[in-house]
Each structure stands twice: as C-alpha cells, then as structure tokens.
Symmetry: C2
Subunit: 366 residues, 2 copies
Amino acid sequence: MLLLSNEEIESLVSVESCLGSLERAYKAHADGKAINRPRSDLYLPGTTANGVYAFKSMEGGLVESQLVALRLNSDVIRWERRGDRLVKEKGAVAPGGKWVGLILLFSAQTGEPLAIFPDGVIQRWRVAGTGALAARYLARDNASVLGIYGAGWQASAHVPMMCGVRKIKKVQVYSPTETRRIAFCNEMENKTGVSVVPVASPEAARKDADILVAATNAVSRVIAPGWLVPGVHVTCVKTSELGDETIRRADRVVIHTRKLAPENYIAGLGDEKIECHDPVEFLQGQKSHGSLTAEAPFWADSPELKDIVAGRIPGRESAGEITCFINNIGLGLQFAALGGAVYTEARRKGIGREIPTDWFLETVHP
Amino acid sequence: MLLLSNEEIESLVSVESCLGSLERAYKAHADGKAINRPRSDLYLPGTTANGVYAFKSMEGGLVESQLVALRLNSDVIRWERRGDRLVKEKGAVAPGGKWVGLILLFSAQTGEPLAIFPDGVIQRWRVAGTGALAARYLARDNASVLGIYGAGWQASAHVPMMCGVRKIKKVQVYSPTETRRIAFCNEMENKTGVSVVPVASPEAARKDADILVAATNAVSRVIAPGWLVPGVHVTCVKTSELGDETIRRADRVVIHTRKLAPENYIAGLGDEKIECHDPVEFLQGQKSHGSLTAEAPFWADSPELKDIVAGRIPGRESAGEITCFINNIGLGLQFAALGGAVYTEARRKGIGREIPTDWFLETVHP
C-alpha cells in the first residue's frame, strides 16, 4: 500500500491530467459508469474545549479505472463572530498543529486498499478543476481575460486551471491586502507564463473580463449583479460569493450536483439526519431538529455539470449569453478521479512510501 | 498511530469489557451522548469477473471516550443459487486470498487518527455482544439452558457472550454436520467451562432451553413458532432465521435499530439511494430504481435496544413472557465502543505495531 504526502502529490499531476480525469469521471457518471455516496457529517459536541468535533466522509467509484475512493475529514471546528460575520474555523489541533483530511483508495477488482494520502492538494485541485471544466463548456471560446477575487489557496489553483481550458492572455487579481495580491500575482505569473496583474479595486478586476472567478473566504457577496455583462462566464467556490441577485442575472446556470447539502448527524439531536449546509444553529442549541425547514434555492433544479459534460444539456449557445457555474458541494467521485490519477502517476514514477498491504487485510470472513 | 491484527485484538478484550463498553455506548446513545451515521453500501457492477464490488461504511462516535470510529468493508460479492436458496458470498480476492474490512479510530479531541485494525474479530464480538446485552434485559434472571443453532463464527462468539449475562449451566448445540458440531462443543466447553453438548436434531437443541440463539448462515427459518414456549427468550443474527410467524409468537419484541436497511448507491441506477437489505435484484437488472416498494416489517416500530438499556422501556416484566431480540442491522456506534475498548487495552499493554501519526496529518488547511 502506498502512502503519499501533499508535496509528492503536488509534483505528480498536471493541469491537463487533472482536467482530463475529471472530465472522464463526469462523463462516466452521466453514463451510469460511476457512483457517488453523498457527503455525511457526523458531529460530536462536548468532546473538547477547542470546539465541536466533525467527521466528514464521502465516497465515489469509477468503473473505467476500477477504483473507489473514500475521502474523510476529522476536524475540530469553531464558529467565531467577526464583526457581522460568522466565520467557521478548522482548528489545527492534531499533533504538531496539523489537520486531518485523508483519501483512501481501493481496488474494485480485489477490494484491497491501494493507497492512503492527505486530501489537501487534491481538495484544492478538484474544486478549481471542476470550476475550470465547467468553464470549458460555458465560457466563450475566445475568452482571454480572467478576473479573479481572492489570493489564497483556492484562487491559486483556479488561475492555472482556467488557463488550461481557455487561451487566457491576462489575469486581473483583486484581494483586499495589497502585499498579498502582489505576491500572488508574481507567483501565478511564474507558474502560468501569463500576465497576472494585481488591481486595487474589485471593479478593476472585472473590467473587460470574459471569466469571473470568486475564490475567497467571504460569506457575503463578492460579485455584484451589475458586473455580469453579456458574454461573461462567472463561477464561485461558495454560493454566498455570488448571492441570489447575481445568479439571477445569468441566462444559463449549471450546478455541480442537485444533492444540495450534506447529511448531518448530531449527537443530542437523535439519529435522524439534518440536511443543511452548516448546522451551526443546531449545534449551538438554537434550533431543534423538528425546526428544520429545507428551503431549496431557486437554482436547485438547474442542470448538473455531468449533463453538460456528457452533451445531454447544451453548454453556452451564443456569444452574448451570461453563464454561471455554481460549484455547490463536493462529490466523492472527484476524489476517485483525481486520487486515481495521482496513484497511477505515483506508481509509474515510483514515488511514495510503501507499507505492507497485508497489514490491512484479514483471513477471517467479516 | 497503532496497527493491530485480529490475533492481537482477540487477546485484548474480555467478554466483560465487551459487554460493558457496549452497554455504556447504548446508554450514551439514548442520552444524546453518542452519534451514529447509518450504513451505506456503494455498488460498482462490471468492474471484475469475480462479482460485484461493494464498499460498505458506517460511523459512530462517543462523547465519553471522545472517540469516533469508521468501519468499512471493501468486498467483491457474488450471489449463487444453491438449490432453492440464493447465497451471498464474499470472495477472498485480495492478495493472499484475503478479505478487506477495517476500523479506523479517531480522537474527537484532536481529530488525529489513533488506530487502524481489521474488523473481523470485533465484527463477531459486536454481533454476539449486542445479542447478549439484549438477553441481559430480556431473558429470565434464572435462565440456565442455552439452545444454539449454528457452529460457526457467529455461534462461537454467542456462547461465551451469553454465559457473560446469565449463569448458563448447559449449552445445547445443533448444526447439520455432526463432526463440526462435536468439534465446536469441545472448543466452547474448553473456553467457557460450561457443559456444551452436541445434539442430533433441531428439536433437541430447544428442549428445556431458556434462551434460543440462531447464529447460522441460513436464509430460511431455523426456529419454528411452536418452539417458543412461555418464559423463553429468542434471538438471531438474521431475521430470516426466525421469520414473521416465529416473531409474532413473542409477547415482547425489541430490535437493534429502527433504521432497518442500508442506504445503497448503485452505479447505473442514478444517484438516488435505494434503501433495502440486499439489492441483488437491482444489481442484476431485474428491478429498476423506480420499482422499489419499501414494505416495513410488522416489527419495524418495536423499541430499540438503547431504550431498554437506558430504562426508558421495560425489559422482561414477568417470568412467563416470550421475548425476542431482532439484531437487525449494525451500527457504527458498536465499532466506536468496541474499537475504543480494544485501543485502550492495547495502549495499556503496549501491544500492536506503531507507525508515525504524522504520515496521516497535513499542514494545509483542507
């Protein structure tokens, strides 16, 4: 069985292989050749003074590669009020001030565990890769200016990924801290060979942009409705970055998956699942289970990414359309696709730490 | 992080600690101090000539021990017709002719992975331990004769477990193969110090028995309705071993959990879950998703084990009652309870293989 580090994983996969493996996975999913077990979050309040414990898991499998991936996160979460905002923080409370997110990869031929590796790099790639894959079908063919909001972890994956689907000539970056956005632009320019310019206002980032990407930590709106001019494509890593009014401006909305929220199981609230995005009010005792009213957003029935990848639903149909992709919640399938690509490449190059598979097998029929 | 083998696990936990940790877990569950994510099964047909690939997972967490367990099975399954019966076989197709079932244990204080070990021994213990725990509340106080059907893996855990909750003086064992049942009785007598006698007919096993246990592979009825005389307690590892008519004879029925069936996700049938026990007809294309009619059995609303353990619902109330416990489907919680007991004991005794926890941590915020 193979163990890989985030550093090894970073060196193993290219933008092209990432986009290719995601595209094949969504196509397979549309064709009934892939499966997904939706995300569940198990909460255990009262176990630590650091916050609330949360165990997140999701699974996906692909017939073509004969691989199944389990992705899990074992986190201690704290919600903090910062001014008007409620901010969710994952504490780095594992030994050495670290986090715990893992991908376990299994062979669907033999059942054996093939690899275990941290999820950090792949997590970033799958979000940005999925956003870029949607842009392949939704942005104008001649899109060449990318406006991006954010200069962090998610933004840094979106720049090369978007350059992987369109001939981007210029990237305009806005984020509130000047030194941060300048450093980010230097890093991205070196990485992509494309001109990446820091701009001093949100308005300047969207000027003449063909593609707008919100990849921030903000829970409030980043992209104003008025910025969506004919022909633009817009995407986000959280729906709050767009907001209803901006999304309504789009002529064509595509979402990642119609399974809108994770299935939460919370100690103290019985065994029934609570389907909502962030059950903070339940965890803090302000809501009881019975009080959940699931209000579907107006875009809940939009086509899914897999439908446009498989050609069942058209992507962009005219140069003047405003298109929008809502990257609304993750799928285990993404980890099967990218985990598989990483694993194959690691085996080919002989990278990683080997531990005996036999430690994880058993001779008794379970 | 600690790795343990089934052999090490077998040496680590006693009948008493097993029953004790399960009892505390069910009590905590009733009190809102434990949580469970119900079992899901992800199926990927068409990946191997050996059968259908199935990935099973469930999770549970306990506030008291601050532990969370994930239990997973990665199996290749084949259904075979044997005469009139459809038998489900898990292929030993992992390297060396082995199976893959794992328990991953996490700290709810720090999120860190604490241990990984195979599920085989614990799987057997949790089924038998749960059956015995139910008998503690449902069998007559003076129950002393145990009649048991089966001489395999599950039966061999039920004998010592039942001896752990009642002063059993005699065990009567029936299974079809004479040599097998004789060997089983010798083994069990050595293990428990109680008289364990092989009998040549099903009827002889139930004669004067205060507790009847069906722990077989049979998918047809093992215990006839007429065998349930006043004062007896009956239990099973599969509902088919009792059948509706036998269950209806009981004055008091308790079930393990009201979540009756796993949530199945099957490639080719879309992303909607199919809730049923063995989706073989869906896997073989004889049924489409839309054709699922979920018929709840008549005992579906019976009290759960946790309710009688917590004293919310009475157990046996008179010597003449016929009581029945239906061990209907597993809970992740059982693995948190027993996995935690095993882990604590392994740490205390310094048993197991240590690998660096740091291999499974990350410095990036996922």
